[in-house]
Amino acid sequence: MTAERVAATEPVCELVDVVKHFGPVRAVDGVSLRIHPGQVVALVGESGSGKSTVGRCVVRLLEPTSGTVQLQGVDVTHLSRHALRPHRKAVSIVFQDPASSLDPRLDVGAVVGEPLRLQGVGRGDRTKRVGDMLERVGLRRAVAERYPHELSGGQRQRVSIARALVSQPSLLVADEPTSALDLSVQASVLNLLTDLQRDLGFACLFITHDLSAVEYLADDVAVMYLGVLAEYGPRERIFESPKHPYTQALLSAAPLPDPLLQRRRRRVVLSGDIPTPLDPPPGCRFHTRCPVADQRSRTEVPALRHVAGRLVACHQVDDDGNGPDVRLRPDDTPVPSGGPTP
């Protein structure tokens, strides 16, 4: 999507300072995102970073504790189930595990047709649109009479995608849609999502930990760590010159399927694991694992600010985008590339 189009259009979805706490668990602690029509925004992070919670707030499966969620200019943050209904068809979600997200008692036709039924689409029209949608996702129309358990994992995920897209949403939230699938099946689902996104033009919030898929699909990348954004900006900038030490570590840790390249790279092994969101560290949330944290990182929360064409939340990065690269040893010469791919 070009910059002009972005500027000219209203975002499909805008999150402003969204906070979601589950009792004492501070799962999401102030996330702002903007998704424009037709744009793919990848939300990346490790388990416990809060990325799925953000996705569920976007589709309003969860009600944010504070902040606002706008869908096509309408504030849906605290709408009741009833008031939310007209806005439901604007956004849908695909989950990681199609085996548990499809009702085993409904045949595929009923599963895919349910969003249409709820919108009051009549039976005849529904059957036709369901059949068309099944073909679009690469299944035969006759699959409508089958039950989820009769299908393979890849076929089930295609059914989930068909259900999500049948009401022609302007935003699809895809939460780890390929993580439960085998490699060769992952490829076909990623190809399918790419094709559908191009043909149908929906925007997509792609939630994943798979950085190679992110680089393949995304326009913008938002990196989450322990409930907050560490870095957010255009894909090329994030992958080619990550500024936040966590982004750098994450990109360097994902192994490349090429032994020559992989063995030449310096990987950053972070000490320990992501801390518990019950009691996130003060200051910069990453400071407990950050190789370049200083006193300020331990006490003062870094603001997310515009630096070198992206947003970054790190005290060590100056306003011109200069900062440490944790992938370099002090005596190393700079490596040409940062991302999982050169």
Binding site: L183, L256, L260, L261, T341
Partner: protein, 359 residues
């Protein structure tokens, strides 16, 4: 990890110098009796694992890689029939009695599984669980065993090891639990370490550390490591040799650089092309798809089991089983009637990042 622990973990004189590989698997087959009749899970698998070498076994779910690993030391349930030969340090394990197997497991061959939480006992401290292994297998006193357990935690990169000994599994993070599992596995200096998807449940920044530990065990203890994984990035990172399995058979086997630069079996070519990778000059290359599914086989056919999904398959593939054959002047083997060549694969040379741009 301190230097002081290194000396006492130095391996015994290496068996590999004696000629025979530590682990020699020949014609291993596994069949399961199920309600729907018999099922052939592993068919005629042969491989060697040598001291100080990391062998990666690669394949998608259902290819038989985990069943092969379990079959090595008799870990499969009674519904499985295992035939063939598994020689561990000269001792035959297929058909061996319970005592022989018990001695082998934990002593000469050790396992690390994917989910450390289910493999650790939640009601005992980490120290107790590691030291138990040492007291049973090595006859150590409680005090000796705890001291050694602390050394082992240190070896696998767990900071403040002495304090960790007193903790319970639930107090540890996923990465730490997996390190504890590895410490338990290597407690008795196993000669062969079988790691079945050891990093699959972990985040990438944690995975990198666990892979470092495996590399370290190979190099410092001279263990033969058999790493089962579906992640080609992990293979590229740590493996010395690669063995690709498909539908219970070995379809390709070779040195790691050879494998990535010149995959020969059409299935391997497909797998490598399915990994999403760089946009070349800003354009998105379409990912290679492998149509269809891994077959579930009641009988092993006299045919290539990949033929139904293979772009290069012809009548030969459907009527005759391809043997593992070597490429000219190389130890790189593939079981394919139409192995990929430079021409029909149309892959740029590896290096400069282009190797990933296969389509």
């Amino acid at each position: 990890m301190t230097t002081s622990t290194r000396s006492d973990l130095t391996p015994a004189p290496d068996e590999s110098t004696a000629g025979e590989p530590l682990l020699q698997v020949r014609d291993l087959s596994v069949r399961f009796r199920t309600e729907d009749g018999t099922l052939s899970a592993v068919d005629g698998v042969s491989f060697d694992a040598r001291a100080g070498e990391l062998l990666a076994v690669v394949g998608e779910s259902g290819c038989g890689k985990s069943v092969t690993a379990m079959a090595l030391s008799g870990l499969l349930p009674g519904s499985a029939t295992v035939t063939g030969s598994v020689r561990l340090d000269g001792v035959e394990l297929v058909g061996a009695g319970a005592a022989t197997l018990r001695q082998a497991r934990g002593g000469k061959i050790a396992y690390i599984f994917q989910e450390p939480m289910t493999s650790l006992n939640p009601v005992f401290t980490v120290g107790r669980q590691i030291s138990e292994v040492l007291r049973v297998h090595e006859g150590m006193s409680k005090k000796q065993a705890l001291a050694r357990a602390a050394e082992l935690l240190d070896l696998v990169g767990i900071p403040s090891a002495r304090e960790r000994l007193k903790q319970y599994p639930h107090q540890l993070s996923g990465g730490m639990r997996q390190r504890v599992m590895i410490a338990m596995s290597v407690a008795c200096n196993p000669r062969v370490l079988v790691a079945d998807e050891p990093t699959t449940a972990l985040d990438v920044t944690v995975q990198a550390g666990i892979l470092d530990v495996l590399r370290d065990l190979r190099d410092r203890l001279g263990a033969a490591v058999v790493l089962i994984t579906h992640d080609l990035g992990v293979v590229a990172d740590v493996a010395d040799r690669v063995m690709v399995m498909y539908a219970g058979r070995v379809v390709e086997r070779g040195e790691v650089h050879e494998f990535f630069a010149h995959p020969r079996h059409q299935y391997s070519v497909g797998l490598l092309g399915a990994v999403p990778a760089a946009r070349v000059h800003g354009t998105r290359q379409r990912l290679r798809e492998i149509p269809g599914l891994v077959p579930v086989l009641a009988q092993q056919p006299d045919a290539c089991t990949f033929a139904d999904r293979c772009p290069a398959a012809d009548d030969t593939c459907r009527t005759s089983r391809p043997p593992l054959t070597r490429a000219p002047q190389s130890a790189h083997e593939a079981a394919c009637w139409h192995p990929a060549t430079e021409v029909n694969r149309a892959v740029p040379e590896a290096g400069a990042g282009e190797a990933e741009a296969r389509t």
